[in-house]
């Protein structure tokens, strides 16, 4: 549910909704939702001084009902 909710929240605020993916990754440090968007939408999803990314984290945390979960916006350009 959390991945789907985050996917919806991000799709609504980008210009290329079809390029949005959200993946749930688990490791020993806990669970992480990895968000990938079109490179042109990256700035919008992060926002000025990370404001939008913080808003996404806040809402996801509220929906997670106390379960700790990370939200990472992955800069795909940088990885290549």
């Amino acid at each position: 549910m959390l991945a789907e909710a985050l996917d919806h929240l991000v799709r609504g605020i980008v210009d290329s909704p079809d390029d949005v993916t959200v993946e749930l990754k688990s490791n020993r440090r806990g669970e992480t939702l990895e968000v990938r968007v079109h490179p042109d939408d990256l700035g919008r999803v992060i926002g000025r001084q990370g404001r939008t990314a913080k808003a996404l984290r806040t809402v996801v945390a509220a929906l997670a009902d106390g379960e700790p979960i990370r939200v990472d916006v992955v800069d795909t350009d940088r990885r290549r």
Binding site: A5, G12, R44, K54, A55, A62
Partner: protein
């Protein structure tokens, strides 16, 4: 004469366009929020109201104690602010217009507005009594606006100080 007619026509268009733009804003915002509630399986009705050049969206519940909705308000309305910000961005993306819409959940802001009025009244009384500036707790931009308005209505002066999450109002007897 033709000039007068033209300006009359232009006025009419401006007056008609603004409310419909606000209604479109409301529809986009309601869709965005409604689907979120659906995905999260949270009960809530969405109310849209256009008033005084702003769109007001409320998520309401028939249940007395809707815990998931309370979680969406968060501590001191923190989650509500986050959700409002995302909803404004969704409107910007969808319509190209910057939105000043106000989101409320189960009347949190309405209740808070009464509290802010009391905070403003107390600060004004204290400033009058002591003659000194009164610094309030940090608040969101919308809450600061409500307090500024309340202080002005009571005849005193207020200014915002500090940056980011520490931005707060200082009430004083006269302009600094």
């Amino acid at each position: 004469m033709s000039n007068v007619e033209e300006s009359a026509v232009t006025d009419e268009i401006v007056e008609e366009t603004a409310p419909s733009r606000l209604e479109e804003e409301g529809d986009v915002a309601a869709d965005y929020l409604e689907e979120l509630l659906d995905i999260a399986d949270i009960d809530g009705d969405i109310d849209i109201e256009v008033r005084g050049g702003r769109t007001y969206i409320s998520i309401l519940s028939e249940e007395e104690d809707n815990e998931p909705l309370r979680a969406l308000i968060g501590q001191d309305g923190e989650t509500l602010e986050a959700l409002q910000e995302l909803t404004r961005l969704a409107v910007l993306t969808s319509t190209g217009n910057r939105s000043r819409l106000v989101l409320d959940i189960t009347g949190y802001r309405a209740g808070r507005a009464g509290e802010l009025q009391r905070i403003a009244e107390d600060a004004v009384a204290q400033a009058r009594e002591t003659g000194e500036d009164v610094a309030l707790e940090p608040m969101s931009a919308y809450e600061r606006k409500l307090v500024h308005d309340a202080v002005a209505a009571l005849g005193l002066h207020s200014e915002s100080e500090g940056e980011g999450s520490r931005r707060h109002i200082v009430v004083s007897l006269t302009e600094a």
